[in-house]
Symmetry: C2
Subunit: 797 residues, 2 copies
Amino acid sequence: MDTALDVHRALTDDELRRLDAYWRAANYLTVGQIYLLDNPLLREPLTPDDIKPRLLGHWGTSPGLNLVYAHLNRVIVARDLNAMLVTGPGHGGPAIVANTWLEGTWSERYHDVARDEVGMSRLFRQFSFPGGIPSHVAADVPGSIHEGGELGYALSHAYGAAFDHPDLLVACVIGDGEAETGPLAGSWLSDVFLNPARDGAVLPILHLNGYKIANPTVLSRIPEADLLDLLRGSGYQPYVVAGDEPAQVHRTFAATLDRVLDEIAEIQRRARSGGVVERPRWPMIILRTPKGWTGPREVDGSQVEGTYRAHQVPLSGVRDNPAHLAELEHWLRSYRPEELFDATGAPVRELLDLPPHGDRRMSANPVTNGGVVLRDLALPDFRDYGVEVPEPGTPIAGATGVLGPWIRDVISANPQTFRLFGPDEVASNRLGAAFEVTDRAWVAATVPGDDHLSPDGRVMEVLSEHLCQGWLEGYLLTGRHGVFTSYEAFIHIVDSMLNQHAKWLKVTRAIPWRQPIASLNYLLSSHVWRQDHNGFSHQDPGFIDHVVNKKAEVVRVYLPPDANTLLATMDHCLRSRHYINVVVAGKQAAPNWLTMTEAIQHTRRGLGIWEWASNDGGTEPDVVLACCGDVPTLETLAAAELLRQHLPELKVRLVNIVDLMRLQPDTEHPHGLTDREFDTIFTEHRPIIFAYHGYPWLIHRLTYRRTNHENLHVRGYKEEGTTTTPFDMVMLNDLDRFHLVIDVIDRVPGLAARAAHLRQRMVDARQAARDYTRQYGEDDPQVAEWRWVRETDPTTP
Amino acid sequence: MDTALDVHRALTDDELRRLDAYWRAANYLTVGQIYLLDNPLLREPLTPDDIKPRLLGHWGTSPGLNLVYAHLNRVIVARDLNAMLVTGPGHGGPAIVANTWLEGTWSERYHDVARDEVGMSRLFRQFSFPGGIPSHVAADVPGSIHEGGELGYALSHAYGAAFDHPDLLVACVIGDGEAETGPLAGSWLSDVFLNPARDGAVLPILHLNGYKIANPTVLSRIPEADLLDLLRGSGYQPYVVAGDEPAQVHRTFAATLDRVLDEIAEIQRRARSGGVVERPRWPMIILRTPKGWTGPREVDGSQVEGTYRAHQVPLSGVRDNPAHLAELEHWLRSYRPEELFDATGAPVRELLDLPPHGDRRMSANPVTNGGVVLRDLALPDFRDYGVEVPEPGTPIAGATGVLGPWIRDVISANPQTFRLFGPDEVASNRLGAAFEVTDRAWVAATVPGDDHLSPDGRVMEVLSEHLCQGWLEGYLLTGRHGVFTSYEAFIHIVDSMLNQHAKWLKVTRAIPWRQPIASLNYLLSSHVWRQDHNGFSHQDPGFIDHVVNKKAEVVRVYLPPDANTLLATMDHCLRSRHYINVVVAGKQAAPNWLTMTEAIQHTRRGLGIWEWASNDGGTEPDVVLACCGDVPTLETLAAAELLRQHLPELKVRLVNIVDLMRLQPDTEHPHGLTDREFDTIFTEHRPIIFAYHGYPWLIHRLTYRRTNHENLHVRGYKEEGTTTTPFDMVMLNDLDRFHLVIDVIDRVPGLAARAAHLRQRMVDARQAARDYTRQYGEDDPQVAEWRWVRETDPTTP
Ligand SMILES: Cc1ncc(C[n+]2csc(CCOP(=O)(O)OP(=O)(O)O)c2C)c(N)n1
Ligand SMILES: Cc1ncc(C[n+]2csc(CCOP(=O)(O)OP(=O)(O)O)c2C)c(N)n1
Ligand SMILES: [Mg+2]
Ligand SMILES: [Mg+2]
């Protein structure tokens, strides 16, 4: 390829004129949405009554977005591209809405907003208007998979969309402000994980309009040579398109786009011609144009166009200030609407002819409505992967290690629609079986001795929770499936990304043309109780709390107590749609409790009385021992056995909870138990000692309306921890078996007197267990190797 | 400066030998900590009994850290530097601990771990041992301000420490894995905000050991030319030190350090010689050495040194496998301990002479124990900044706008110890008064028309919540003060950083030699209820929920209802120590309720009955209207007035809460009310209608133990929102005045029948208010302009 751009041959004069008209139309429609209640075609002079009372929206970014959109339309048609757009500066909502209206999709989705004068008037009115549409590139906008409200995730979403979509071009506008965020800065190197043979292409367009809300941007004020170095260092070949003279920018941008698309085609051709897949230098574009370009140059004596003042609404006094009103009218008319829309208010033929048609329109690309292209996973029968559980407590096997082979076969059976994501923890989370059939995606140098790295890998490992989350979201939103496995503590890193995804799911449930997508599945092993190598910083079970604040209809939380239950749970999650499923399960060797048949039943019910561990004989118990989470379940069973041995007359009911949302009232969550069911299981008056995996108050928050809430006593993680042994950890938080026995003694009426000796022995047992760790550095084997013994077993000590 | 390094002149042979001995000593002590229970000096052949039962810790990163530490020691002495070290790979805890022991600080802090054989034995034993010390560079480690457990924040912490410490050199080791995280990637450009004249220097040392846990790192596998471009593009001059032959690496590293420090000195000299301050090209180091360098080359046939297998514990079977035991002994002896430690077990004189002494030791630098250098802020009397409140409801003034001038004067009065941080929102959050006395820190290009940018600015604005948080943490941890102002929704971006800081605060409270530092103050304006320009993605009050999961003794949450209360609250926060204070306050024009005297009283109490808005005349009311947050307070007062008008015989008590933690029992939180106090205010049996700013269930979680919890009915944000009017927002969530009246009617026994008409009118009023917004696009002025009218006022409509 030669290096000189042929700026003058990319567009004929006629093409230039038509592109510019399209751009003016989109700009006109953008300004109209921000300002106008009525008089959409300016058939009359503007009056204050035509103006919205509240002027909302973001103009500054919009002309740039409109330029990008128009030019992409040209090349989509010229090359019959399968393309979509991720709009980083999603606050430019009116720009993208304008484009979807111009290309007809908006009216197809929303019949009352036709491509005519009445429709245009509604288009304008509805924007940021009560009962209308939001200000951003929200889910309401056809073609959007990215609202762009919280900045930072544009590029990771774009890469996620491109994975396993070999024919797709994902253009991605990145604001120069957004580029300052950590998550965006950490996304550039995603190209190391994109296989040019198997995956589609991402075309980053860094929109260097120079400003964010009230400040210049860093990338626009460092030397351009530095900026180019930065992007080259990330593996790109940046092309700069700069200017403020429309015709010149149109020509340069068109020529650059042609060039860049030629390079992408060549990269893909080479990668797909059968040779070795190597990391190419992907082209990208830096678009350096003024913020608020073509808007008011100056307002009230201050420069606006080309400054941060253009960010939102440049003319703010339009209703009361006749000069502002006149300037607005002048501004609107500068786009020459009379040339752009016909007598009916429809875009003129020339405009209609410019964009692609049908599914080629970026706003109608089926992958942007992921549910439409989503196919069920081929799931191997998880029952074949379980552990044999001859009796409760045997064998000892880590849950995720058992899950691994099933995940492996899910990968094999779905070679184009499923990926596993993790921040360098897939192997340490014991899912290494995956590497029997695939590798880690890696399109950079390798050396002998490398462990399962290849461009074809289907495991996505990068030390960035943000990237894992962003890629997975992009992958799901475009119709595929995945699992994200991570440390429990560090998944908080993506709290805010989860918020945004949960909001997206909630909103799209109510948008009739949006089809449900696959659920976002978290598998959190390496959880709070087993941070043996690490310490306090790695101990935090609060992600669950964070998730349950989201809208009930989109969140599910599971804490399977053992391997078979984990298998049944994951199978359920991978079949589910449009949820966020949080699954917490240990990776460490641990006893298994349920046969596969029992596990399936238990998972379906979401919770259940474990009869084999209860001795209430179906009558009302003296105490309910409830447990949720693998470690609390183990401690509770050990406590139950201690009670059985030492207080055999005490009637104990043991309840295990897998599906945390079962605890909420059915009025609050679709999985909630009715009060009657809850009362039956947890009794109306008996003490409940609840051993919970996470922060204890969450259980109270979920159950405070239940009849027996007053008798509910919860143990859980109370933010006490350090680098120590597993049993010392539960003792630090009073969640250990001995303390649970003490809790029972303290809560069951009448027991205190009777069981004083046992209570004291429990206090001593805690002290002894603690002393043992201080002396030997590990847990007393009597504690660590405790095994459940069946009640009838005569060998019970 | 010339460009060729004089590798051979940096170190004499003797210096080289001494440096290498020091490095070997640190490596020996590192391995000892990971493995040894006893026999610290290998006076006897190793036996299985000498080995810890649980082998924990991270070897891989340690030899690199030890190398950096030793070389920094050399130059600190040679140049009498004031230096500290931020250890990104904080899992290399044993390495840093080893160094602090070698230089004596560890023994000064922990007298039982002396620099002798017994001390060494304790040093080894305590590491990652129950009752001992954590595995990371935790707060227990002298000289640490950064645990490095959750990766990503090393460089932002380092910059935060350097601000306003002109003489300080902050060396910062960044793991090549950590460099993949978003927050770290977004930290490189911090140099744009560092003023070489006023601030200290940061020396990033990118530790390219090639691997993370189970994978190679991206930066080690892209072409080195790309890596250099990337760093140059961020404004650095990178110097590569590479090799695996110790002597050669020592020489190159020493020469490079000299070079780099010369450059830094020259940069500072130039910047401080009175001319214009410009952005220099800061030098930095890329250290490319093998992971697990000097450790076992191969274990059980697999290469370990120089691969990811060296990450944790290279020889894992030492206790049971005699071959492993022998290899460990061989490895330990390879450092020639007999040359390094004398007969008493103390480091030999030559080692003692190498590091700096006293406060010059990085582990003893007073800034790393921030409380020691912390000085109280000079705080202007906030009472002088309040609004006159002639009667409740007047004047209309936005709270943060009133706060602005006080913040401005705090900045002026503390020109070296206070900064304001925000992600491009200081002006939009109405704190623009700050710019009357200072600028935004900015050390890049400026253009005419720029708004308050200069190298001397004390407002830190960058579009990265991660950077704001990281800088502020680094600033606070080294003894200064600050405020972080941000959108309420997007502060979730730093949830996990907050976790880590809260953990640090909790742990350091229990470390006697650590002095309390200034609190981390969040001012969240632009909150959930007033996202007029934006939509659902910007509406999330859950940060409060996240924060209250942290240890009670370190978190405080305030929701001042008006401007004077905000002033009193912020004054309190800036005087406080060692907390995380979350303050939520609106920026929009709103009524003010309390005079300054009342506001002070109210803030001190944390909550109170507003007598002027109650009509229970000091007797038991029929209903308690509780409110917390500015918007809920407004709606509650409007509801109270409606009740007063339409049900004048109903005895209403209005309670406002500023300090959310007052709601918790005193056993749970130091600010908690006793049950008696709570019962007095909220009654034991009367319905409480609680209008809360955030998610309603948080109030239940805080109060579920209270006597009257059963009668508590909370309205708050239930995750319903979009771009709409302020009143439509409260209606969408049933928090509006009309709905609160309905709630009262529905909950006060006997009222339902009597107030049926009023109830219906309220339903109609909601509908009418809604219809108004749909028609006019704004709130009905009757609603929006509602003002509180004193009870006795005859003009009450
Ligand atoms: C994470 C985050 N922090 C803060 C904001 C508030 N915000 C909205 S738009 C904007 C400026 C965006 O600037 P840029 O990315 O350059 O977009 P453009 O200039 O194209 O509008 C900011 C800071 C946000 N949306 N997200
Ligand atoms: C945010 C975060 N995600 C995951 C981890 C788990 N983790 C601990 S160490 C490590 C690898 C670190 O690699 P690097 O930064 O290169 O350090 P080094 O090679 O020097 O050990 C990982 C992924 C973590 N500590 N923090
Ligand atoms: Mg911008
Ligand atoms: Mg590394």
